[in-house]
């Protein structure tokens, strides 16, 4: 297990001169308090620099090393450069790792990185190791690929949510790091090495077969197939490498696109607003035309009551005239029959003769019947009345004030909507006035092109793999033929090939089995930690996916698909703890600002759990993030040491032990 004993800094960032912090033996938590801009992240970077010669920013980008030296020292004494000495223990040996960045010989005032040189050496139990041994030892003790699980920035914990996204390249990279810390490459590398040795053994088998006259032809055939396979394999490897390059490019583009998300949203909104303004303008125009039509007859609205009364009177007259007219029609028909009866002197229906009295009565009736001209006149009056009523009805409708009001209201709403959109559009135009839109569009186009190319490459690789499978089957058939011959050399090479093949298959099966076993263990341990850390009693645990992404599971068995930043933080810490418990590699956890997103309850729970997450934990926190009294109460005997970073000036901080 890797345990840090002390860190000695010389002019590293704000830590002017030589400053040292020590960590006492025994498992537990050490805390270094420091307000913002005092140098907490610099301390994390000092460890990173000592181990890997790198210093990174919060965004995971490297910082040019010539910018790291203390500014005041350089200004006051003209001394440039910096140094970190890391003392640590690993597997019962004591190490001292020194890394120094100093100006090259002859350079008095270094300006850029090329003016500096870096030196580093490693002492093991007092002996300085050679460069190769030094590199091997450091790579074994703390491989850079897994350092994210030991030296981590609390602000970056949300990155682990990427593990839940199937197509995320960042998620893929984190998954690789997780597998690296869990030791999966021991098997995957072994599988690759044994695969290569297997191929080498096959070539040796070919040569052995070619030497024997009986098997020469088979040996030649075998050799040709092996060459064909190597060619296919080479093309597949090349395509796979191209795919990796494209994926890496896609990742960096994704990062740029993430930063441009706001810009893109603004541009999208701008386009939408422009459309909305145009469409609203069209609707306003149509409504204004409708309003104009309504206004031309609006005066009629003032006379609407009078018109209605006139119309009602006319309708009454119309009704009356229609009744007279209908009666007149019936009377005219009867009068014709009566006239005939008078002329014939008998009833036209029953044929009986008419008495004088009846003749007088009929004559009076005939005289009362409306004459034809009068009927025609009445018919004309009815028609005229109908026309007038229709005209009055139209005037009543045209003068409808309610419709006009409705149109006016709609028009007002539309104008407000348009004005609001125009205001927002002006704001967006102001925000995007300096933007190189062509560049943004180009970035999106390049990204889309990359996605397409990745798909094409994946298809290509698939086809190559199919061809490889076919060739391998043919190789197997020829080898089966060769196996029928009892040549001693051939048998020796065959034995080598078979051993390599079995070992390769064993390692290959081991990869899958070990991954499954690890996932089960990581899920179990992460769940145990999560239940301990979360303040939500209804959360039952965590469920792991193929990429080691963790989903919160509710007590009713359903997944919690969306989680808060705080919950994400707790899940990520649970994963960290579980990885520490299951990794063959053990080391200190150095956390910078791990409580920033957490409330007091969660902070307390995390502090209580820290001693169980790793044997050595170093916290870099500010006091409002973690109150020293609270930390002492929660950690008790597990609190090993406390330091405070004190400000001397903007460019000078001192590390002081807390009494």
């Amino acid at each position: 297990m890797f345990v840090i004993r002390s860190i000695t800094l010389t002019d590293f960032g704000p830590f002017k001169g030589e400053q040292r912090i020590e960590f006492p033996a025994g498992s537990g938590v050490s805390i270094i308090y420091g307000e913002n801009m005092r140098g907490k992240k610099t301390l994390l970077n000092a460890i990173r620099y000592a181990l890997f010669g790198k210093v990174i920013t919060r965004g995971d980008r490297p910082i040019a090393l010539h910018q790291i030296g203390n500014w005041e020292t350089a200004k006051e004494s003209g001394k440039y450069g910096f140094k970190v000495v890391l003392s640590f223990e690993h597997e019962n040996a004591e190490y001292e790792l020194t890394r120094e960045h100093r100006p090259r010989a002859g350079v008095v005032t270094p300006q850029t990185g090329v003016d500096y040189q870096q030196e580093w050496f490693l002492k093991k139990d007092g002996d300085v190791l050679g460069p190769d041994q030094r590199d091997t030892e450091i790579a074994r003790i703390m491989p850079e690929a897994v350092s994210r699980f030991f030296l981590f920035d609390g602000e970056l914990l949300q990155q682990y949510e990427e593990l839940l996204r199937d197509e995320s390249d960042m998620g893929r990279r984190i998954k690789e790091s997780i597998e690296r810390i869990l030791g999966v490459p021991v098997l995957t590398n072994g599988r690759t090495d044994l695969g290569e040795l297997f191929k080498d053994a096959q070539k040796r088998e070919s040569k052995a077969a070619q030497k024997n006259q009986k098997t020469q032809s088979l040996g030649n055939q075998h050799g040709a197939l092996l060459k064909q396979r190597d060619g296919l394999q080479e093309r597949t490897d090349r395509l796979t490498k191209d795919l990796e390059v494209l994926r890496a490019g896609k990742t960096s583009k994704e990062e740029l696109l993430r930063k441009m998300e706001k810009t893109r949203a603004l541009l999208d909104e701008r386009a939408r607003l422009q459309d909305e303004i145009t469409q609203t303008g069209v609707v306003i125009k149509a409504k204004e035309e409708r309003r104009r039509d309504l206004l031309t007859v609006a005066w009629k609205g003032l006379l609407s009551n009078r018109i209605r009364l006139t119309r009602e009177a006319l309708e009454r007259d119309l009704q009356k005239n229609r009744e007279i007219y209908e009666r007149a029609l019936v009377s005219a028909d009867i009068a014709e029959k009566l006239k005939k009866a008078l002329a014939d002197g008998e009833c036209s229906t029953c044929g009986q003769g008419l008495s004088e009295k009846a003749k007088e009565r009929i004559d009076a009736l005939v005289k009362e019947t409306l004459p034809k001209q009068e009927r025609a006149k009445l018919e004309g009056t009815i028609q005229q009345t109908e026309v007038r009523i229709a005209a009055l009805k139209q005037s009543e409708a045209a003068g409808n004030a309610e419709v006009l009001e409705e149109v006016q209201n709609a028009l007002d709403d539309l104008k407000i909507k348009k004005a609001t959109a125009e205001g927002r559009l002006a704001e967006i135009r102001e925000q995007t006035k300096d933007l190189d839109e062509a560049e943004v569009r180009k970035l999106y186009m390049e990204y889309d092109k990359m996605v397409t190319e990745i798909t094409i490459l994946q298809e290509g690789i698939k086809k190559q793999e199919e061809s490889l499978k076919e060739v391998n089957e043919n190789i197997g058939k020829v080898e089966a033929e060769m196996a029928k011959y009892g040549d001693a050399d051939l048998a020796t090479e065959r034995a080598r090939k078979e051993l390599c093949d079995k070992l390769r298959s064993l390692f290959a099966e081991g990869v899958g089995a070990y991954r499954d076993r690890l996932r089960g263990k990581v899920e179990k341990d992460a769940t145990a930690l999560f239940v301990q850390l979360t303040s939500e009693p209804e959360y039952k645990g965590l469920k792991i996916n193929e990429s080691y992404g963790l989903t919160i599971v509710h007590q009713d068995g359903t997944d919690i698909p969306v989680r808060s930043a705080g919950a994400e933080h707790i899940v990520a810490l649970s994963l960290m703890g579980a990885l520490q418990r299951n990794a063959p590699l053990r080391g200190p956890i150095v956390m910078d600002s791990p409580f920033g997103r957490l409330d007091e309850t969660h902070t307390t729970k995390v502090v209580q759990s820290l001693p169980s997450m790793a044997d050595q934990v170093m916290l870099l926190v500010y006091e409002s993030e973690l109150d020293p009294k609270q930390a002492r109460n929660e950690l008790k005997g597990k609190l090993r040491k406390e330091y405070r970073i004190e400000r001397v000036s903007a460019r000078h901080s001192d590390l002081k032990p807390v009494a």
Binding site: L182, G183, V186, N189, L194, T492, A495, R496, L503, E509
Partner: protein, 67 residues
């Protein structure tokens, strides 16, 4: 069970069940090489090859002695 023991145990279970004629000590030796040289792939390959050669030579010598 610690991480490294977990790994050895996983492989050993598969070996016993599916590849019993592959010697356990050779497998362990290869796993140890890969664990110690994860960051140095060339060295790992070289040492794996050497370990297999040594095993095969030993087998051949034993067979010759038996004959």
């Amino acid at each position: 069970m610690k991480g490294d023991e977990e790994l050895l145990d996983t492989v050993e279970q598969i070996r016993k069940a599916k590849f019993p004629d592959v010697p356990a000590d050779l497998v362990q030796k290869l796993l140890l090489i890969e664990a110690n040289y994860t960051e140095n792939r060339v060295e790992a390959y070289r040492r794996i090859e050497k370990a297999i050669d040594a095993y095969l030579e030993k087998q051949a010598a034993a067979k010759e002695a038996g004959d």
